[in-house]
């Protein structure tokens, strides 16, 4: 049977898991309300269980003590008995679909922030500052050590009383347990530091206390890293020694293993490998740990595809695979495998929109699936067919918003035509995918292509829709998602002209799409600091250009998320791209065969010049509004979206009003430049009631 390795049940401790796929612990950042799990939280996990996921380990970095601040990432608060009834709701919701659910519990030690909420004094074995969160901390005292050990035990009791199936002790991501383990952070000379046994002591006392509290019938696992990748940190051999040491107690029911520490920006990027990484880059570390322990090993990191999961499990490298981002992209992943609908799985592309929001303390959302974590609002993962009239829906624009609009309308059972001026679907995704290490973003388009074909949407590629063509189709609904154009005309001094011969500047789109050949000596002015600027820099440097990327912001790529800017920087520094900040592009003029870019220091006003042969400007998108205004007055709703209905995920009132003519909606960048998720979210919430 295909995928038999995935669907072989496994016992973890005394718990039977129905298959080998796990949604591993991650901060959801929506366990709001003082750390009590909410309806949103429950529905998010229920959807995974409904979709067939074997085991969910929820609550990444859920805290056991009040001095491990809960509020920054809205993690679950297990420091109080108030959590118990909330867990009962969560457990029931998952169990009724045959899933199992555990929670990760931790004390984060120094890996947090102190400047808010209770203004906690963070603790750490030796009081050494943590760089990623810029967090200073005190050297923990023995009394505090024993208090926290007791807190772990009580937290585990609360999980058990709440009906959860187990707890995972976090000894990963350099939280307090592994802060004690690592000589990089633990410089103590008392019985809690120094020798191997002493460094192990805190974690061992936690394990013993937890096990004593919950007994043998409750699952207790540990999540560890397979190699910290710090020269002064724990190596793979150290981690094998540690895993074997804890395993020898017979009190650990499973190990979750990931690669890399994360207390620098660069190592942090390893932990949730983005699209620039190969598949399962750190599987060998988990396999190494599996060699030395006698209980099941879970590994998650860039496992997104059912065939990949089957291969890993079949090979026996680990016992369970974490497919966490894969489930954020598609919580019905397992169900679709079982239904023989592999092609319908919305596969994670590693854009890391989810985790990059999380690191900013924002709720975890998927770049391409707007229903994820909005289940509680009634946004559906499976679109039901309408019971009402079948409508003629015309979508203009084949970017993410247009593709989602066409998909949702077609799933509703309507007759859908989609116009795209280019020869292929994708819109700006197609351009973004041209950059080195960014090709996988095109996976978003690939899924839509398959879905639109399956749903038999009439695709008019290479066709620019005008007013007459649209009206000829006698549409009931027109959705405009026509995007926009690079906004190079904002400052006349930049010398932009629509005539390519005369224009002194080109856009990042021109470069990435191949419309304009790369120069030899290029200045990129990036006013936006998101992906396009650094992508163009990486692309040009890759083609052999000498590149300087300049921004008036604090650093090029400053708005690229925490797990992705490091992979750009690795590439840009390696290719000797110069990154300059605090400079505005004042003016561009031609001098001989070359161009002179005049830059102005934002803080001093001082001007400096660069002599180059190409100036690339990234200044965001100007909406393409022409078609909208051509249609607006003729439309029944004059193009207006009812915001109250939109935000409440209710049907647009105009859909149920009768009348002649068509309804007009616009979404995505042709309204205002936002991002992929925004376009897809608007498309879903407007079109789901068509």
């Amino acid at each position: 049977m295909a995928f038999d390795a995935i669907f072989e049940p496994i016992d973890i401790g005394k718990l039977t898991i129905r298959n080998r796929v796990v949604s591993t612990a991650h901060a959801e950042v929506h366990a709001t309300d003082g750390g009590m799990t909410t309806e949103r939280y429950v529905r998010y996990y229920e959807e995974k269980a409904k979709g067939g996921c074997g085991l969910c380990i929820c609550g990444g970095s859920s805290v056991v003590s009040i001095d491990s601040p809960q509020g920054w990432w809205s993690s679950v608060n297990l420091s109080t008995d108030r959590i118990i009834p909330h867990f009962q709701n969560l457990a029931d919701a998952v169990h009724k679909h045959g899933g199992k659910i555990m929670i990760q519990i931790t004390h984060m030690g120094r890996r947090s922030r102190w400047d808010g909420f209770d203004w906690s004094t963070l603790v750490s074995p030796s009081g050494i500052r943590e760089p990623v969160h810029r967090s200073t901390c005190k050297t923990i005292e023995v009394e505090e050590i024993w208090r926290i050990i007791g807190d772990f035990a009580q937290a585990a009791r609360r999980a058990k009383e709440g009906g959860l199936d187990g707890v995972e002790l976090s000894a990963v991501h350099q939280h307090l347990i592994d802060q004690f383990w690592s000589p990089r952070v633990n410089k103590r000379t008392d019985e809690w530091g120094g020798s191997f046994e002493n460094r192990m002591r805190f974690g061992m006392e936690v394990l013993k206390a937890v096990r004593a509290e919950v007994g043998d019938d409750f699952c207790v696992g540990m999540r560890i890293c397979g190699d910290e990748f710090h020269p002064d940190g724990l190596s793979h051999d150290d981690m094998k020694q540690i895993a074997a040491y804890y395993d020898a107690t017979g009190q650990v029911d499973f190990f979750g293993v990931i690669g890399s520490g994360c207390d620098t920006h660069n190592t942090l990027a390893n932990v949730i490998p983005n699209m620039s990484y190969p598949p399962e880059p750190f599987l060998h570390l988990a396999a190494g740990i599996k060699e030395v322990v006698n209980v099941p090993v879970i590994h998650a990191q860039n496992i997104k595809d059912p065939n990949q999961a089957q291969r890993i499990l079949e090979g026996g490298y680990v016992d369970l695979v974490g497919m966490t981002r894969a489930h954020i992209a598609d919580p019905h992943l397992i169900a679709k495998i079982k239904m023989g609908q592999i092609d319908q799985i919305k596969q994670c592309v590693g854009a890391n929109y989810c985790i990059d929001r999380q690191y900013q303390g924002l709720d975890v959302l998927c770049i391409q699936n707007a229903a994820t974590s909005r289940e509680y609002m009634g946004l559906p993962h499976i679109i039901e067919k309408t019971e009402g009239a079948k409508r003629k829906v015309v979508v203009v624009g084949g970017g993410p918003g247009g593709m989602e609009a066409a998909r949702v309308a077609a799933e509703r059972g309507h007759d859908v035509t989609l116009f795209e001026a280019a020869d292929a679907l994708g819109g700006q995704i197609t351009i973004a995918a041209q950059a080195p290490q960014r090709d996988q973003i095109a996976g978003i388009t690939r899924w839509y292509q398959l879905e639109l074909a399956r749903l038999k949407v009439d695709l008019r590629l290479g066709t620019r829709a005008d007013e007459a063509t649209l009206l000829d189709l006698r549409p009931d609904i027109v959705v405009l998602a026509t995007g926009g154009q690079p906004f190079l005309s904002q400052h006349p001094e930049w010398g932009y002209s629509e005539n390519a011969e005369e224009s002194l500047v080109v856009s990042t789109w021109d470069i990435l799409s191949g419309k304009v050949a790369p120069g030899k000596n290029v200045l990129i002015y990036d006013a936006i600091c998101e992906f396009s600027g650094v992508s163009a820099a990486d692309f040009l440097a890759d083609k052999g250009a000498k590149v300087e990327i300049v921004t008036d912001d604090i650093k090029p790529g400053a708005a690229v998320g925490g797990t992705t800017f490091p992979t750009y920087y690795r590439s840009l520094y390696e290719k000797e791209v110069i990154m300059s900040s605090d400079l505005m592009l004042h003016k561009v003029y031609r001098e001989g065969d070359g161009l002179v870019a005049v830059l102005e220091n934002e803080y001093t006003g001082a001007l400096e010049e660069r002599v180059v042969d190409q100036v690339v400007v990234e200044n965001g998108v100007r909406p393409d509004e022409a078609l909208y205004y051509a249609l607006k007055e003729q439309s029944r709703n004059r193009g207006q979206v009812d915001l109250e209905a939109l935000y409440a995920i209710q049907p647009q009132p105009c859909l149920s009003e009768s009348g002649d003519g068509f309804l007009l909606f616009r979404l995505g960048d042709c309204t205002a430049p936002r991002n992929t998720h925004a376009a897809i979210y608007d498309a879903l919430r407007i079109c789901k009631d068509f």
Partner: protein, 539 residues
């Protein structure tokens, strides 16, 4: 054209002889000197006509069919077909067991003379009406089988000779005149050609459409399986995936070669009660080998949901269950069939249950009709029958049907083999579905192509049987075809660009379940099915 001539000779002779008696001709006409000659001639004509008819009964003469047909019916191998006592109205569809203890006995039929005398009579009874040919799915698919020709080839084989004189449609792709045989020569040649080719025998889906249609009650399927038994057991010549499947059955007790311990993997989250724990239940749920198939697992999960909704006291054998032996038997491997059957019977003997329920008509047929000869007698119900009973007893309630139009495909092993045409339709009716019948439905249903190991032996044709069946579905105008067989589901779902969705009846029922109104008829408290239940069972 011998019958008209002999009849004419006989009747004209008698007629002329009697003319003088009735006075139409002079009385002395046959009494005079020369009249003796006329009398002799007339007597000769009468004797020839009579002899032609009488002796021709055995020598391939004109009265053969009447004579052999009468004898065939009088000594039919399945006398039960004339009785209404067992298995409904004259139903007898279980294959006959081979005696494997007798070392001297041949295994299956190698040559025409190996058939039993009443089987041979059956071949002689054939009047070549062609009704079997008209309904045979393999023939329609252009596979090299035509049941009418096959029976005629057996007739040729008994007499010895070639098929050159056969005037009907040949086996598709095999012109007449190239095959010949004799009573004691092999039917299938070791090399080259004999009476029939092996691929003719392996094209049959054992759907029994031919048997159902035959006015002379000839048993085509029995004959084909007898010949397959020889090919498989004596020659080891099961084609294509056949040998692999039989090896799998021998090694793993299931045709797919799956780890036998994984039979219950699909239900890891359902906490199914096991017979080994309970020992005694009302219903033993027989899973069948669909337990290894991801598609059928959905049907099984739906069925579990239905049983739990009706608070049925049930359990499964789990990993103690083995393949029923159906496919081994149809592929001619009687030894593996009997081995599986005997071990299943021994397992079942350990437990007490009122009835077996299964969603697999093949298991249903084999357990109900073919285990008896080996000592296993059970009350077996197809799930559609059982669900219909549960509904009638008020133990299930359904939300109104909101889907589109539905047709129903009768599985051969449920319908023609076991006469169950009503229960599935009653269930669909209870769901609020008005079935749009296909032209070929009920006892004339067209096979999906999945029976008799046909997908395993995979004899090429010009088109695929399931494609034709889905075309039948399309012509009915239905958007959904309800089925009641894992094999049919697999075959029909395998059709590319099908116009209709394929759902098992259990899935339709599970989707429609609603809470029973309080105080509704339900016979007494039931044992709780399990401590936890998986509410959402479709995945």
């Amino acid at each position: 054209m011998r019958l008209p001539k002999s009849l004419m000779a006989f009747s004209l002779g008698v007629f002329l002889i009697t003319l003088p008696t009735v006075g139409l001709l002079p009385q002395g006409l046959l009494e005079g000197g020369s009249s003796w000659l006329l009398a002799l001639v007339l007597a000769g004509v009468v004797a020839w006509g009579l002899g032609e008819m009488f002796f021709g009964m055995t020598w391939g003469g004109p009265m053969k069919h009447a004579f052999a047909g009468a004898l065939h019916l009088a000594f039919h191998r399945r006398a039960e077909r004339f009785s209404t006592k067992k298995g409904g109205a004259g139903r007898s569809t279980g294959l006959k067991a081979l005696n494997l203890e007798d070392e001297a006995a041949p295994l299956g039929v190698e040559k025409p003379a190996d058939f039993t005398w009443n089987q041979l009579l059956g071949f002689d009874a054939c009047v070549q009406c062609g009704r079997c040919e008209a309904v045979c799915p393999a023939f329609a698919a252009g596979q090299p089988l035509n049941p009418k020709k096959l029976i005629q080839d057996m007739v040729v084989g008994m007499a010895g000779g070639s098929d050159a004189a056969y005037a009907g449609s040949p086996y598709p792709g095999k012109p007449v005149g190239e095959h010949a045989g004799s009573p004691h020569g092999p039917i299938v040649a070791l090399q080259g050609k004999a009476l029939v080719d092996a691929d003719t025998l392996w094209s049959c889906t054992t759907c029994r459409a031919c048997v159902e249609e035959c006015p002379m009650m000839i048993e085509h399927v029995d004959a084909i399986v007898d010949m397959r038994r020889h090919l498989t057991l004596e020659r080891g010549k099961t084609p294509n995936k056949g040998a692999e499947v039989l090896d799998n059955l021998i090694a793993t007790d299931n045709p797919g070669g799956f780890d036998p311990g994984s039979r219950l993997n699909w239900a890891a989250d359902l906490n199914l009660p096991l017979m080994a724990d309970l020992k005694q239940v009302d219903v033993l749920l027989w899973l069948g080998d669909g337990a290894f198939d991801m598609r059928n697992q959905r049907t099984l999960r739906a069925l579990v949901k239905v049983l739990r909704a009706a608070e049925v006291d049930f359990a499964v054998l789990g990993t103690e269950e083995r393949d029923s032996g159906d496919v081994a038997r149809r592929l001619g491997d009687e030894a593996t069939f009997q081995s599986l059957a005997k071990r299943n019977i021994a397992t079942l003997a350990k437990y007490r249950f009122l009835q077996i329920v299964t969603c697999d008509p093949h298991s249903f047929h084999v357990l109900g009709n073919e285990y008896g000869e080996l000592g296993g007698d059970y009350q077996v119900r197809h799930h559609s029958t059982f669900i219909a009973e549960l509904y009638e007893a008020g133990r299930l309630a359904f939300a109104p049907w909101k889907g589109g139009s539905v047709t129903y495909h009768d599985p051969c092993y449920l319908g023609r083999y076991n006469g169950e045409y009503e229960a599935p339709r009653n269930v669909l009716k209870a769901l609020g579905i008005e079935v749009k019948e296909m032209e070929r439905s009920g006892y004339r249903s067209r096979c999906c192509g999945g029976g008799g190991g046909a997908p395993i032996t995979d004899i090429p044709g010009e088109r695929r049987i399931p494609d034709m069946r889905m075309n039948d579905v399309k012509e009915s105008g239905a958007e959904l075809v309800a089925v009641g067989c894992p094999q049919c589901t697999a075959m029909l779902e395998g059709v590319v660009d099908a116009s209709a969705e394929v759902r098992d009846i259990a899935e339709l029922v599970a989707d429609a379940l609603v809470e029973r109104p309080a105080g509704d008829a339900s016979d007494g408290p039931r044992r709780p099915a399990a401590t936890t239940t998986a509410e959402e069972v479709t995945v």
